[in-house]
Amino acid sequence: MTTQTQTGPDPKTALSSRGGGPRADRSFQVLTLAAGLLVLAVLALILITTTREAWPAFSEMGLRFITENRWDPPSEIFGGLAFIYGTAIVSLIALIFAVPVSIGIALFLTELAPRRLRGPAVTVIDLLAAVPSVVFGLWGVLVVAPKLVPVYRWFHDVFGGIPLIGRVFGDPVGSGRSFMTAGLILAIMIIPIITSIAREVFDTVPRADKDAALALGATRWEMITGAVFPHSFGGLVGAVILGLGRAMGETIAVALVIGSSTQITANIFASGNAMPSVIVSQIGESNGTFTAALVGLGVVLFIMTVLINTAAQAIVRRAEIRMKGSAA
């Protein structure tokens, strides 16, 4: 060590660890781990407390809790099928409207929009995302629902006569508070959610893939179907599922515009009810098994969300394996 004047201590001793360094590292890791574990704890607590609260209803009703269509608190009969149906139909309507529109917007933003339009368009979507759902509910109940009645009537008059399909366009309810209104409000609510994820998904399609399609003489649309979509399938399913989750869980906006009827009907212009809105509107005035049943609806909703997510993940994984091959 002649020229190494800077090297302080003799390296032989210097290489072993000094002071509390490794312990500080350890404590920090434990701290972060604890924060991470909190998620597990809270989630477990949610499941345990809600299931425990709901237990009287579950044990009383058994499977009929989700298969029976009769919600009769005075008789202590709690069959929530109508609300499950309501949640499903309303979410379905929301997806039917929101998915194509969101994908369209996302494609517009990633593939079509001239750069100077991109910024404003993104801002518009962000604005839409910034509107809290309760505001959509307010707008829905005070402005939209009454205005939609004549529109529904027109649809009923025009399509109501068609066999089978006509039943979907049944007699509209006089207040306009219906599955359809709730579905539309939800669609507007989830468009920014699906759009922003779809946009990210499309953005990750490698430039090279798009170039490859275009270099083969594809039109823009052919490029989108040939190069963009195959790459985005998994991501898009994820986006749709996230939107679906939000739609299924949305409480206030739906509660305000769905009309609170306990019925299963193909007529999308009829009023109905969905799980979260039943909970929020009835739990205050409930007690005993009734309360348990309402909490039980929450548990069922939660489980449904998880199941749908898991199923979607499985679908995505399989599709991705097929598309990308086992290697990638």
Binding site: G174, S175, G259, S260, T265, S271, Q282, G284, E285, S286
Partner: protein, 340 residues
């Protein structure tokens, strides 16, 4: 604490006439949390506003969450007193013996409607029951026409609006139907009933009023005060004596005359006899605890309820409620002394 209460009362209540009572309320201080029935909400809020004038140090919050929630909060100790239109049953929350009923006011429950082109509607109990059971589906149904000779009724669909949540108003309304149309009405009575599928729910009395107002062909039951304040039209109901009577304070007062008062001060003025009686008249109560651990709280509750039963009664007609008959008022005041 409420230091200097006496001094405050002299200056603070200079404008009020009943100086003896005023000084009594002026001593009260703190916060009172209350929740419950939406039916008397308009009245209670009126009283609270006036009460602030005589008891400036006491803040009363009444939260019109509905009778059922009020009772539950009461049972869970989440409020200091509860408002309820219905009596307490097992599982409602409060345990028997831990509370007292104090009747405060009574009021009609209107059957409000929104039919374009129709201003006046008469309904007999049977027709009413059929409508709310959706046995009758359109406004030009023969049964309705029979109750309304000379009125042209449209073919509009009937939209029945009821309370989405458990409610004392529902309880009283369905109790009336059980009493007045025993052969027709199948849905029994209760805070919640098993409404037919195509009926619609809305929250609180004013939510029902809103939904009726928005819906051509809508009909529902709404407390008198909210119905009037929102400008709804309401039907004349055929009473026990066979007369069609419109909801009014007078009709209610008449109903109260005939009502029998139970030991615990609950009473039932529904479907009462008398030619001028409005038959769907409902009482409303405040639930107070028999014992309050906090003395200041006890005094506050007692003071506020006493105010309702005394000066407060004169406010009732202003917001379309009927004051209690004197006999009942005396008994209610006596009830307050049982609070420890």
């Amino acid at each position: 604490g409420c230091g200097g209460g006496d001094d405050d009362s002299d200056t603070g209540t200079g404008g009020t006439d009943a100086s003896a009572g005023a000084s009594e309320y002026a001593n009260l201080s703190g916060d009172l949390k209350a929740s419950g029935a939406s039916f008397p909400d308009a009245y209670y809020q009126e009283v609270i506003t006036e009460f602030k004038g005589v008891a400036p140090n006491l803040t009363v919050n009444y939260n019109a969450v509905g009778s059922g929630q009020g009772k539950k909060d009461f049972g869970a100790n989440l409020n200091d007193f509860a408002g309820s239109d219905s009596t307490v049953k097992d599982g409602d929350g409060p345990t028997a013996g831990s509370f007292l009923y104090v009747p405060t006011v009574a009021a009609p429950i209107t059957v409000s409607f929104n039919i374009s082109g129709v201003d006046k509607l008469q309904l007999s109990p049977d027709t009413l029951a059929k409508i709310f059971q959706t046995d009758i589906k359109t406004w030009n149904d023969a049964a309705i026409a029979a109750d309304n000779p000379g009125v042209t009724l449209p073919a509009t669909n009937i939209t029945v609006v009821h309370r989405a949540e458990g409610s004392g108003t529902t309880n009283n309304f369905t109790k009336y139907l059980v009493a007045a149309a025993p052969d027709t009405w199948k849905l029994k009575s209760g805070d919640v009933v098993d409404w037919p599928a195509s009926t619609q729910g809305a929250e609180k009395n004013s939510g029902v009023a809103q939904l009726i107002k928005q819906t051509d062909g809508g009909i529902g039951y709404v407390d008198f005060s909210d119905a009037r304040a929102s400008g709804l039209k309401f039907a004349a109901i055929k009473n026990k004596d066979g007369q069609f009577v419109e909801a009014s304070i007078e009709g209610t007062t008449a109903a109260l005359q005939g009502a029998e008062i139970a030991e615990d001060l609950t009473f039932n003025p529904l479907n009462a006899a008398g030619a001028t009686t409005y038959p769907i008249t409902a009482p409303t109560y405040i639930l107070v605890r028999t014992t309050y651990t906090d003395a200041a709280k006890k005094d506050a509750v007692k003071g506020f309820v006493r105010y309702i039963l005394t000066e407060g009664q004169t406010l009732a007609p202003e917001v379309d409620f009927a004051p209690l008959p004197d006999e009942l008022k005396t008994k209610a005041l006596a009830q307050l002394d049982k609070i420890q």
